[in-house]
Amino acid sequence: MMKISEVPQDKAFFEEGKIRDLCYVVDDKGHYTKALSLGWAPKNEAIKLAWDVVYEHAEETRKKILEGKLSPVAFYMELNIMNPVILANYMNLSRRKVKRHLKMKAFRKLKPHLIDRYAEVFGIDARDLTDIERLRQFKPADENQL
């Protein structure tokens, strides 16, 4: 059983006074009560693993953009953990169109208002979306700024 004295406090993503996991634990007399946990290592590892995958995919996409194959839309889609279906929903466009915009060739011909809309959905500046140089210099350390 999880005893109240043994509630894990493996801090990773939570903040005391803001958000912690409420756990049902057993007190000294063997009765259930509540306690707050700052995190638990196995769970933190699982969340980290999920993000590692996101960044791996983003990195693969980034390389393909620098080769001129894929467009920045594809990169920011990955970073926002979206897929063409979710992105199409947010853009209010057909999936087919969004998939085309993932290619560099179609992206170059994108109308300015669509560039603006994509930038808005990704929460970035429209100028940053078209800035390939920014992608060239992108390092995982920049993740937090996005």
């Binding site: 059983m1 996991d21 049902y24 009765h31 259930y32 693993l49």
Partner: protein, 333 residues
């Protein structure tokens, strides 16, 4: 305008919203009671139904069921609405808040500004309560947060109309009528029986105890069938569902044990206390499973033996849960 609503933190969002709304109308039910009466406990593993390319595993019933069942079993009248028109969804909300009614809402967490960034996936079955509005700001009770939060109209609109799998579509729900007398005992028995039935008798192999066994069988083959990398990701996904914000530990098994302990006193049946202890053991086994699973997906090269070991742990858990629910099935008032 702010209603006299008290925010209390809960492990799980839907339990919390339900419990907080009920308290506002003078019905004091703990989170475990809400979870038990609402038959929130479940297991499902659907290899064919995929999210981000991975099978969906869940330790609880579908979103919305707990609120629906609890209010129905206690004879409380509720209203539930969903919207196509975003403007209308906000106008109706404002009207209810003006009338002094707190409103439960389904939202997506991806754009929820007060959530830790690492938790902001495209998950669209989160529940919050709005309980007041001042100018452009809504007072929000999010049960997984320690304190009240505030969202601007723009932010609230965004999360109510999040996109992706199972979009919330502005869904909201609120209490419209409470009976003079609440009889908890039959509701508790109903809740327990339904959970036992769901866990034991659904004639599809992906649900209940059989679902745990299906997961065990598939997991054994993951490294061979999917390769080390995908196997690790699938395993990580199971652990996230087991321990993600809001399960109270061990995929709701500890909350359910707490419910059985409370129910034992209310129904004056000591067998429920014994079963609460057995359920605690089940929870411990799930936690143990999580510890071992984390070791496996961290060192991806371990190969087949460790997945076999995890599968064996699952089979042992399934046997144990089956024993508990076979006894619970025969509970009488």
């Amino acid at each position: 305008m702010k209603t006299n609503f008290e925010h209390r933190q809960a492990a799980h969002c839907e339990n919390g919203v339900t419990s907080n709304l009920l308290r506002y109308y003078g019905i004091e039910l703990s989170e475990p009671m809400v979870f038990g009466i609402g038959s929130g406990y479940f297991f499902s593993h659907m290899p064919f139904y995929k999210l981000n390319g991975m099978p969906v595993t869940s330790f609880r019933v579908w979103p919305g069921m707990i609120f629906k069942r609890v209010t129905k079993r206690l004879g409380i009248k509720v209203k539930r609405i969903k919207y196509r028109n975003t403007a209308q969804a906000m106008i109706d909300l404002d009207k209810l808040l003006d009338e002094g009614k707190p409103v439960g809402m389904l939202v997506g967490v991806f754009h929820l500004p007060y959530f830790p960034r690492e938790y902001r996936f495209h998950f669209n079955a989160h529940n919050i309560t709005a309980f007041g509005k001042e100018g452009d700001r809504y007072y929000i009770s999010d049960p997984v947060m320690e304190h009240e939060e505030v969202l601007t109209a723009e932010e609230l609109k965004k999360v109510r109309f999040a996109k992706g799998t199972y979009p919330p579509s502005g869904r909201m729900y609120y209490i419209t009528g409470v009976p003079g007398k609440i009889d908890l005992k039959p509701a508790i028995v109903h809740g327990i029986r339904q959970t036992a039935k769901d866990m034991l008798t659904i004639p599809v192999p992906f649900f209940g105890i059989r679902g745990i066994r299906v997961l065990a069988r598939n997991m054994r083959n993951w490294p061979v069938k999917l390769g080390d990398r995908s196997a690790a990701l699938n395993l990580g996904q199971v652990i996230r569902m087991l321990e993600e914000i809001g399960t109270g530990g061990a995929g709701f098994r500890f909350i359910f044990a707490a419910f059985l302990e409370e129910a034992a006193v209310m129904l004056d049946q000591s067998i429920l206390e014994d079963l609460s202890k057995e359920m605690t053991v089940v929870g411990d086994q799930w936690r143990d499973f999580a510890v071992h699973a984390a070791r496996v997906f961290k060192n991806r090269d371990r190969g087949r033996t460790s997945y076999s070991m995890l599968a064996d742990m699952l089979l042992s858990i399934a046997d144990k849960e089956e024993r508990v629910f076979k006894q619970l099935r025969n509970i009488h008032l």
